[in-house]
């Protein structure tokens, strides 16, 4: 095989691969763009549609952490302006507690609740994801997180989780 045709098939194979990979990446990124919400985004965009996948970030709202009769965990995620109820049938992470920044991933049900498949809290208790912080600031100004903590400390609830 001649040198030129050899180079041609390598370039051809690379081009073929890219023709597949680029649209795949574009579809994947587009999917991700319609995936992450703050509670206010959900309310404003009417995103809580039955069966829709979403990832919601915010704080665990004060005084909303309960278990139902079947032991299933219920809580709300808030950005201090709006809040979204979440149902989670697993054990939350160790750093899950009121006013802690969390991210819940799952599907909305018919009642507008997020049925979470996964709930994540940062490994570090003092940390808040920057994008979450931006969204919270947009919703409630700089003092959003402090407001949650002040309310929580005033009423001193029993430890949840």
């Amino acid at each position: 095989m001649r040198k030129r045709s050899q180079r041609l098939w390598v370039i051809g194979a690379a081009a073929a691969l890219l023709i597949v990979a680029v649209p795949l990446a574009a579809i994947g990124l587009k999917g991700a763009a319609n995936f992450f919400y703050s509670p206010s985004d959900v309310v404003e965009q009417n995103a809580a549609v039955d069966g829709k996948n979403a990832r919601i970030g915010g704080l665990v709202e004060h005084n909303t952490v309960t278990h139902d009769a079947n032991g299933v965990l219920h809580f709300s995620i808030t950005d201090t302006k709006n809040s979204i109820p979440v149902v989670f049938d697993q054990i939350p992470p160790d750093l899950f507690r009121e006013c802690q920044g969390v991210i819940a991933e799952g599907k909305f049900d018919a009642q507008g609740r997020l049925v979470a498949k996964r709930v994540l809290a940062k490994h570090d208790e003092n940390y808040m994801p920057p994008e979450l912080y931006e969204k919270m600031k947009a919703a409630a100004g700089d003092g959003g997180m402090m407001k949650c903590q002040t309310e929580a400390s005033q009423t001193k609830p029993g430890a949840a989780g």
Binding site: L29, F35, G71, P129
Partner: protein, 653 residues
Amino acid sequence: MIAELGHLLAFLALAAAASQSIFGLTTGGEPARRLAVATGMFTALSMLTLIISFVRLDFSVALVANNSHSLKPIIYRIAAAWGNHEGSMLLWCLIMSGYGAVAALFMRGGPLRDKALGVQGLLTTASLLYLLFVSSPFLRLAEPPFDGRGMNPLLQDPAVAFHPPALYLGYVGMSFVFSLAAAGLINGKIDREWAARVRPWALTAWSALTIGITLGAIWAYYELGWGGWWFWDPVENASFMPWLVGAALVHSLIVTEKRGGMAAWTVFLSVLAFCLSLLGTFLVRSGATTSVHAFAVDPKRGLVLLAGLALTGIAAIALYAWRAPKLKAGPEYDPVSREGALVLNNLFLSVGAALVLVGTVTPMFAQALNVSLSIGEPYFLLTFAPMMAILLLFMPLAPASTWQRTELSPLLKQFWLAGAISAAAFLAILVWRGNFWQAVGVMVGSWVVLGTLQDLARRAGAGGIGRIFRLPLNVWGMAIAHIGIGLFAIGAVTEAAARETRTFPLAAGQSAQFEGWTFRFDGTHQAEGPNYEATRGDIFVTHADGSTETIHPEKRFYQVAETATTEVAIRKTMGGDMYVNLGDTIREQPGVWRIQITHHPLIDFVFGGAGLIAVGGFFALAGRIRRKVQVTETETPPATAPEPAAAPAGAPA
């Protein structure tokens, strides 16, 4: 005094590294060699003083006060030395200068070694400057506290204690591969001999990186309590990108070494692997991306790292642009040949790395445009997974094909058994489980495992089983690593598709049934650890086969850090792990605990497969070192050494 001594030693290392780079790039020879050894020694001693400060709990050192505590067990006091930003930067410098020192001691002299030590000296100088002036681990506190502030308790764990050294051995090890590439370009000599001498270093770094990533995944699996081992988190991707490029590199080096082909591409990968390591460090340390993993994050340091990355990248690209056009192309080959198969391997691995890169950095750019974007598993499963599935289809064919030209149909016929069994596995899983992607994963995984075994049998030929053990080590390395990949693929898709989890609210005395096992909750008791208090569950388990035992998943509370952690109880079964997590209490129902039980099928295939990849890499390395020793004995340069007769197709993974 000891911290000041460490500080001084780091400055001595800086001086030695700077001189090493000057001598290495100019006159070379003995001075460069000795200086490289000195740089390594000074850095090692500096690290030693830091470890001593941690062991002796010298809380007047700010780093110790912030990251250790008197109640911490000794092994974790040592690990705490690198379990923080400043200490891990010193570890970075140690490993970087360590590679230089080992090369100075064991590499054959000549322009390649001299120039490589020079470039490595430059990189080490830059790293030590960063260490000393941006993140010094030796700072003192004016008023030492009575006790330390402890370390993140999640990190008090054997797997994660040794995760950073292994990861850095790989990550930073790529720096020496970079230096060898730069040296080859400076000398204008990227040929078969160059590739033969680079390959052991690339194999070392890549295998160590494999171990480091695997340790991190194992830790995430049992320590974080939800049984996930890979999250496609930016921090994980940061180490995965150099791994992918490193995997491409150890394969393209084979082509360059055996055939003299792909030289420019191989050099490009050598440079790229280290640039991706730097990019990863920037992503992790700057806080530019959102991660579930906690790191000491500082945007100012991020800028310095970014500048370093840009400088290294631009210098490398300039050097490359200057020399690469002069590199000779290798002999011609047919698309259907071993060269062709390895080109495909490189294309798929590079495109895979590019897709991971896009998924990792896009949120960062989106944030600059004020768009919140969170890219997770769905993106990577859609884009990256299919690429790897196709790559695995080619995997057993490459080592079985011949250089330059292969007849396709005899090649394929040779794998009839592996093909038939894996096709049957595909249909069986599709019918039995109804999950297409699981069926695809198991099919390609078993195809790789069986195809590799069939190839080994063919190599043994008529000589029978006995000859298999006399095959060269690099063939064994290839086979072990490829089987590891296959097992990993089977395990990963099965675990993801067939994982079962249930949460049971149980009061003392109540039982739950799960996957044929019975779990009776007998309440909890308190236990005391060295620096934590634990609530331990007592769960009486009746296995599916009728045998019984009591297991103790626990919740730990670390008083110093005021943090709770979960210690799950894991029981191995034939098909996977039974994973029991003592969850939380229910406020409305006192005495009731929520206990989560998960069955992780074939999870050992995931970690075992990944481990085998590293073992395979080390086998190939051992084969290389043995051959080199033999060559030195016969005084023949390695590049012209005849292939051992038993390895007509010696292609280590």
